[in-house]
Symmetry: C2
């Protein structure tokens, strides 16, 4: 407890409730290169002194602090809440804090102004006090080498302290604009209160915050060379990330057959997630996909196109993974010596073994897994989609991601965790830059409004970045299977306009929607267990391309925070505005695949738009004059199920 035992008095200024602050500072918040970090804090003290405050920040590797002013934003409660911002220009771990101090000269000015306003005349004592404060300010200016300020303040001090001059002249000298401006440039910060400890922010590359993803199995596209050949077209479609399921050798022992059969046929290629075979483990390439050079050509072509190739980091091992013989100590065995394959009773995953994070050589295991990631980082990979991170220890992820990003802060990790909210949030806090979401299972207007509201406006906005896939090889929702192409279109527009990061798994553009059995989320003849003949010719691709380019041209679609849901007077139509800077996009989407739906989009005054404005549908290129209040919309399944309206203010 600070008290008289201290040599200096504990600061009278209280600085508390800094934001963003994740779990009391246990985890950093997240920010994005090229944007600003908006910060706030409660700052106040006893009495009536005028306070000043700054945010001070330090980028990764910097050895000095930069600062900018904070301003009080709620004057009606004595300006307790202060806010400010700082720019972040490179990825990595940044830190910030707050300094605050009482401005004795400004406080003195307020006191004198109030007394003058009240007609008080006996100001001799006050003026002699002011002269001292001004002289001290002049000294500070002089020390700082600001001669003009020092002269102005010195002159003001002399006049203010001149007992032979009339009070009116002395007050005027002290309160003059020049003296005020000069003194504000040379504050007395000898008694400063500082927010302690400093707050951390992880600044990520833009790719972590904004991107359009396309998932494809390279074995269905002619391996690495086939993928390379498609990259220009994928770039043309506006994709930013091409995500490949595991590209490593696949085990043969207990290999799964087509449609997840326990017996594989002689030509069945097995699941890519059964990582490891005679050819190698997590750092090897499946020979059928191409050699090292082909892989490198693919990565190089992607870089040329400003695309990222995302690899899958799936820790499990097939029975034929080299680690089972090289590091048997990393796998759990029964007392009878048999290995335990993965299972979630009554489900069995006979083709894979999980590593044992509780093994005695956990350090060796952690380091080996880190080396896998670094191997691919060295090969030019900057994005990893992590398979089932919620079944591995959270502290392992925190260490792994921190360790990799300490050297390579531009690396992005996407968590494929579909589990309870606390774990999804904690993985994001522990370091994952992006996360899969519950979006696929949010269908109704109410469900989408609630869920997106939480993501955009809840506490988790500071660290949890959604990546909304419309489908995955594991997730064919009943909504898609039953709703058909019209639902495919609506869900695509929703994902692409709601979330700065979204993705589709190839097949979506062909409206693939036959479940393996009715009600299952698994596809019939799933690509997980067999190779397909894929081509970039799905009928939905033109709309995909248009949406991706709209996303690039409209800053409002590149951030999540500026999301406002709008009333539609029809639960079959969902509408929302997104805003960022001067960019506003209003989207209305029909949730009904079967009927034409009419309704309104109610534009509220809170959006700050003028009474009327031009709304241009970036899908149909039609324009209308819209107004604050109710605007009629009519949405037609499949053909015109959505408006994506750019707001143009005259």
């Amino acid at each position: 407890m600070p008290g008289p035992a201290n040599t200096t008095m504990p600061p009278r200024i209280v600085i508390q409730h800094p934001t963003p602050l994740v779990d009391c500072g246990r985890y950093p918040s997240k920010a994005t290169v090229g944007r600003t970090v908006e910060v706030g804090a409660d700052i106040f003290r006893d009495g009536h002194e005028v306070l000043r405050a700054v945010v001070r920040w330090q980028g990764p590797g910097a050895d000095s602090w930069e600062e900018s002013p904070l301003r009080a934003v709620d004057a009606e409660v004595k300006g307790v809440r202060w806010e400010g911002a700082f720019p972040v220009d490179r990825p990595g771990r940044w830190t910030w804090t707050v300094d605050a101090w009482a401005d004795d000269l400004a406080s003195w000015r307020v006191e004198v102004e109030r007394k003058v306003a009240a007609g008080q005349t006996d100001l001799g004592g006050e003026l002699s006090e002011g002269a001292l404060l001004l002289a001290a300010a002049a000294d500070r200016a002089r020390t700082a080498g600001a001669r003009a300020d020092a002269d102005a303040l010195g002159a003001a001090a002399t006049t203010t302290g001149d007992a032979s001059a009339p009070d009116r002249a002395r007050v005027a000298a002290a309160l003059g604009a020049d003296a005020v401006a000069a003194s504000d440039r040379h504050p007395d910060r000898s008694r400063v209160a500082r927010l302690d400890p400093v707050v951390e922010v992880d600044v990520d590359p833009v790719r972590a915050a904004f991107g359009s993803w396309y998932e494809l199995f390279p074995r269905s596209w002619g391996g690495f060379d086939g993928v390379t050949a498609q990259l220009p077209a994928l770039a043309e479609l506006g994709f930013d990330v091409v995500y490949l399921p595991p590209v490593h050798p696949i085990g043969v022992t207990n290999r799964k057959g087509r449609n997840n059969r326990t017996e594989a046929g002689p030509d069945d290629p097995g699941s890519p997630w059964a990582v490891g075979g005679a050819e190698g483990g997590h750092t090897a390439l499946h020979p059928d996909l191409g050699d090292e050079a082909a892989f490198d050509r693919m990565v190089a072509e992607a870089r040329r196109l400003d695309l990222d190739i995302a690899l899958d980091f799936a820790i499990q091992c097939s029975a034929d993974h080299p680690w089972l013989t090289e590091h048997p100590e990393w796998f759990q065995r029964r007392p009878d010596g048999t290995l335990k394959y993965a299972e979630n009773p009554p489900k069995k995953y006979q083709d894979i073994y999980n590593v044992d994070f509780d093994c005695d050589d956990w350090q060796g295991l952690w380091e080996a897994l880190r080396d896998v990631v670094l191997h691919w980082v060295d090969r030019g990979i900057r994005v990893f989609r992590v398979d089932n991170p919620h079944t591995k220890p959270v502290p392992f992820w925190e260490w792994l991601i921190h360790t990799v990003r300490a050297e390579h802060p531009d690396v992005v990790f996407l968590a494929e965790a579909f589990t309870h909210r606390a774990m999804m949030r904690t993985l994001a806090k522990a370091g994952f830059n992006q996360s899969y979401t519950y979006f696929t299972w949010k269908h109704s207007r109410w469900e989408l409004t609630e869920y997106l509201g939480e993501l955009a406006h809840g506490e988790e906005r500071h660290y949890f970045r959604p990546n909304m896939f419309v489908n995955t090889p594991d997730i064919l929702t009943a909504e898609l299977a039953e709703g058909g192409p019209a639902t495919f279109v609506s869900r695509l527009v929703l994902a692409a306009t709601l979330s700065p990061s979204y993705g589709i798994y190839s097949g979506y553009e062909h409206f693939e929607r036959t479940p393996v059995v009715p009600g299952s989320e698994e596809y019939l003849d799933s690509e997980k267990y067999e190779a397909k003949e894929r081509a970039l010719d799905g009928p939905l691709l033109p709309l995909v391309g248009r949406l991706n380019h709209i996303r690039r041209s409209e800053p409002a679609l590149q951030v999540l925070e500026g999301l406002t849901f709008l009333d539609t007077e029809n639960d079959a139509i969902i509408a929302y505005a997104k805003q960022h800077g001067s960019s506003t996009v209003i989207t209305a989407v029909s949730l009904d695949p079967d009927h034409v739906q009419e309704g309104v989009v109610v534009v509220p005054a809170e959006l700050g738009l003028p009474p009327s404005f031009t709304a241009t549908d970036l899908l149909s290129e039609q324009s209308w004059t819209w107004r604050l209040g109710r605007n009629y919309v009519r949405l037609v399944p499949f053909d015109a199920p959505a408006h994506v309206l750019r707001v143009d203010v005259a």
Copy 2:
């Protein structure tokens, strides 16, 4: 970042979001002797292991930990949230934490049960694993000296591990109730995750949480002996605390006259808050009130009656306070050497000087002020009402209260801060056990519902304890002045039934309500500046006494948390239920001093009451049968403006 550099693996179990936790643990939460501390935390890990958790706590001065189980309360999200409680039996600073661990044997049982349920038969590997886990549990039981448990577990281990026995018998032995119960008594806590750092709780005496206060100026009651003579009657009225404005010598220099005139007449006694005179300062008694012995008699009589005498701790000094000559360094002077009296321009308080907390000898000042408090603690005072704490440094209060309570944890400090919310909350967090509130200015049903909802259910419930005065010597609200006796009655019932701590300043029971000028909150002929002839004969006192005794008999009125506002279908009637344990009180109060008001009290199912119940008005002693849903009420200004209904469940 914990990682392979650690010798032990960081715990896989995540423990986060403990509650109550005030400002990330920067301040303790508050609790009350004789009640329990309800705690919670998120506890989970990767995978499907069965988790166990306990809360561990330590009272002040204890050198070992006690513990009790936590239980998962939201099974639908995998039981992420765990809750529990621990009892606190003495005042002071307590600490608590959480331990959690995976129960390998219970996890194994769940796995085997699911496999058996799925008809799986090849359980040899599982059973050999179970036998080892049971044998380990037997070893723990044996080490703990629990021979019966050790024998039961050993037998189960033998049968489970007997490869010659049928699987069914082996499974039955492992899952048998005896083995389960025995193993649950001997958990394997070798790999425990612990919440770190520990969380602090300040446990206060009941007086801090529940009490009825009466404020009187002893000079209007015949000094200490006069007060002593009234104490039995005040106790009879059900008061718990008798609060006296400052009892110290009053300055003569610049003494204030009647009605706050700057010139005092020769017989004007001055304001008691102008502390200090020739006779002494903050540790002296005003000679007109009686001598040291009279003071001691008063305190002794109060103790006999289980009453507390609350003194006023008002740090400011009159011009005649000994400290001005003994410690001139503690006061701020202008450059011309003149002292600065207290002012808040354009208001001037010429009769008092504030100490200068920024002075060089701040340590000496802090210690002297602490010694003032300790002086009165030594004289038997356990309750201090602190004047204007928001104009003194927060760190001073935190140190002072902590220091005093470290030796005297039964001392209670009430903050008289009427300022912005952040400061009021921070003073409470810094240590004040009770706080004055905005209650006096909350008049409408909506205002009261919002404000009390915040106090009872907001984050501040963990540390901010309201003391709702209906009036003070500084606060005669327009509502009282204009509403007259009917409003006095309603406001009294509101304060006494809404807040576990409430108070009245003498005069209230006489309906005193003439402002010094229309619209002012100052009384005409305020007792602050003159002595009155007071007697305990106000017409409102019988109701006061009845309310105080109802408060003592109904536990629901002694806590704030169990507050639920009820619909009334009439904004002139406010109604609320309070619940604690098996005690339920429903109160309905008319806010209209002029007209009879009719309405309903809607009893919602959430209160957990039966479909019908007996509601006995503890004011009128009438009883009715009430029901869930709408119950008619008719309230008459002044004569029957409220029901305070005890709920009796057959």
